[in-house]
């Protein structure tokens, strides 16, 4: 089969590989009909989370048709079923899964010894996202083996196009959880840093959940335009001060709820000196993540507010304003998304026409064009916001 394979920093290739095979009784094989490049794939593209090995298949947002089912998954899946595959691999039986904390499932990370060393305790196995989370081959491929497939799937009905349901596997529930964990009240202003795919989903989620005001922060005019289309007030940080403008829009009080949809690779600009400092330290290996957004959020957030972090961080940050965080009594909520906790409800909202997540797709290409699209997406060329691949 063909798949997009990581070979090193900024080196992703469309390779020919052996087909995946059923290994465990709960496995299933899915023929991928659509998959996407996620913003968090760019951290791997840049090798900022250094636990990838040459030959690893990328991709954690995919859907398709079940073509083979292991004996212990047959009670839930059959050949021909149409499924979206969540990026988190879940057993459905452990303590964490029972509580709905699927992204920290205790049974599915097959490289527990690595995760134990780095995180203290393992988190769930993830598709195509380094050997810290199991080293499972990803879904930017023609075929995908889904471990624990009887639990790790979202069934979707026929007759609804791939594009509308594909993002149930990651960015839609990720944006949704980011907003949900803000516990949005009708009086709340929700400020969202980053208008990439997750930011766009978080904006729509905050609007649906009834925020008084949703404010989106970025500097790319096309992305800000898409944010505005979704009902957000926008701030272009190249043109105005984020802190001043946020205070202005909230009567000097600051936003009650802040969402970081950027993560470890904040934009670097001489107008924000801390970003240059972080970039230099990162290049020298003295800091792994660039936390400019966290600093700004903690500074501007209304006291007793909530900081929600769906953006991916990999390791250590520097100059973290613990004093502001503590004295203002802020609540931080973060984590990889507990995808299956939300998907039944979100699928219903898509079917009922409350939202259509396909709005975010700007490019649809074949798998062969995938490597070049990584570059286009990273460089934000051609107004690229979300790439869908058709294997």
């Amino acid at each position: 089969m063909r798949a997009l394979v990581w070979h090193g920093k900024e080196d992703i290739r469309c390779d020919t590989l052996t087909d995946p095979e059923i290994e465990q009784p709960r496995d299933a094989i899915v023929k991928v009909t659509s998959c996407a490049i996620c913003g968090s794939d760019l951290h791997l593209f840049h090798n900022f989370i250094p636990a990838m090995l040459p030959g690893d298949i990328m991709g954690h947002e995919m859907m398709g048709e079940v073509v083979e089912v292991g004996p212990e998954a047959k009670h839930k899946l059959k050949v021909g079923d149409r499924v979206v595959v969540p990026f988190t691999i879940i057993c459905g039986e452990c303590d964490q899964c029972k509580r709905g904390n699927f992204s920290v499932c205790e049974a599915t990370n097959r490289k527990k010894y690595l995760a134990d060393k780095v995180f203290g305790h393992p988190t769930a196995g993830l598709f195509g996202y380094t050997h810290l989370t199991g080293g499972y081959p990803g879904g930017q491929a023609e075929y995908l083996r889904v471990p624990f497939a009887d639990a790790t799937h979202i069934k979707v009905p026929d007759g609804i196009p791939d594009e509308k349901v594909l993002f149930l596997g990651d960015i839609f529930p990720t944006g949704w959880q980011a907003a949900v964990q803000c516990d949005i009240q009708p009086t709340d202003t929700v400020a969202i840093w980053g208008c990439g795919p997750v930011g766009q989903m978080a904006i729509r989620s905050a609007v649906l959940l009834g925020a008084k005001q949703v404010i989106a922060i970025d500097h790319l005019p096309d992305r800000l335009e898409m944010a505005e289309a979704g009902g957000a007030v926008t701030i272009n940080f190249d043109e105005e001060s984020v802190v001043e403008r946020l205070n202005e829009l909230t009567g000097g009080l600051g936003p009650e709820k802040c969402i970081d949809a950027i993560g470890m690779e904040a934009h670097v600009s001489p107008s924000m000196p801390d970003t240059v400092y972080d970039r230099a330290k990162q290049m020298l290996g003295a800091e792994s993540d660039r936390p400019h957004v966290l600093r700004e959020m903690i500074y501007v957030c209304r006291p007793a507010g909530v900081i929600s972090i769906p953006g991916v961080y990999g390791g250590l940050v520097d100059k973290f304003p613990m004093g502001q965080l503590m004295n203002k009594g802020l609540t931080i909520r973060t984590g990889q998304t507990h995808v299956n906790r939300w998907t039944d409800d979100l699928l219903r909202r898509i079917e009922e026409g409350q939202i259509d997540p396909s709005f975010v797709i700007t490019h649809t290409v074949s798998l062969e064009e995938g490597p070049e699209m990584y570059k286009v997406f990273r460089d934000k060329q051609d107004s690229c916001i979300k790439v869908v691949l058709k294997p």
Binding site: I12, D15, R204, R223, A229, P371
Partner: protein
């Protein structure tokens, strides 16, 4: 072939690479990478063998300067190998200028190693040309032209429009583990109510 070595990290049923296809690295990116490693190599040489270099060029006494250039060269290399490689390559071009100016000072008639300096100058000029080609190449490949923006004004994501979408999911119940502390007013309201109930209750 590193991918075949890393296959030891894969299980039996994991796909394994048979042959490689087109890469996301363009020719300009590969050139940047080569120049980046060249910088690292040269920088290390300048740091470790500063005496040899000054002797070969008849520039005895300038060892500290050569070592400082070595550190600078390492910096060019690190940035050229990073995703911000265009900055790295343009900084290399600037560094080449500095190298040329420094070598020119050694082109004196009384320098017995004048020939060596000439060879070094020719080499630096050649590398400068490569650096300029490389820097222009990566800049062009990764530039984001601001003139070709697409319009996303109609991408609401809400089939019934934004106005209908506002609060449409208020039926959603935030799970208890994700609730924020209630507003102060709500807390004190509840306390007042509870107190009133307490008083109304017969003792």
């Amino acid at each position: 072939m590193t991918y075949s070595i890393s296959n030891i990290a894969r299980s039996k049923g994991d796909p394994k690479v048979l042959h490689s296809g087109p890469s996301s690295l363009g020719a300009a990116d590969r050139m940047a990478r080569a120049l980046g490693w060249f910088s690292i190599g040269l920088g290390l040489a300048e740091l470790i063998a500063a005496e040899r270099i000054t002797r070969a060029l008849g520039m005895e006494g300038k060892e500290t300067l050569v070592r400082a250039y070595g550190v600078r060269e390492l910096g060019h290399g690190i940035v050229s190998l990073s995703p911000d490689k265009h900055l790295g390559l343009w900084s290399r071009v600037a560094g080449d200028g500095l190298d040329i100016a420094t070598l020119m000072t050694a082109m004196r008639h009384d320098n017995p190693k004048r020939d060596n300096v000439g060879i070094a100058l020719a080499a630096v000029l050649g590398v400068t040309l490569l650096d300029i080609i490389g820097a222009q190449g990566v800049t062009a490949r990764h530039r984001r032209p601001s003139s070709q923006l697409r319009s996303y004004r109609d991408r609401t994501g809400f089939p019934r429009g934004v106005q209908a979408a506002r609060g449409a999911a208020r039926d959603f119940k935030v799970p208890p583990d994700m609730r924020a502390a209630p507003a102060l007013a709500a807390v004190s309201d509840r306390a007042t109510q509870e107190k009133a109930q307490e008083k109304a209750r017969p003792h």
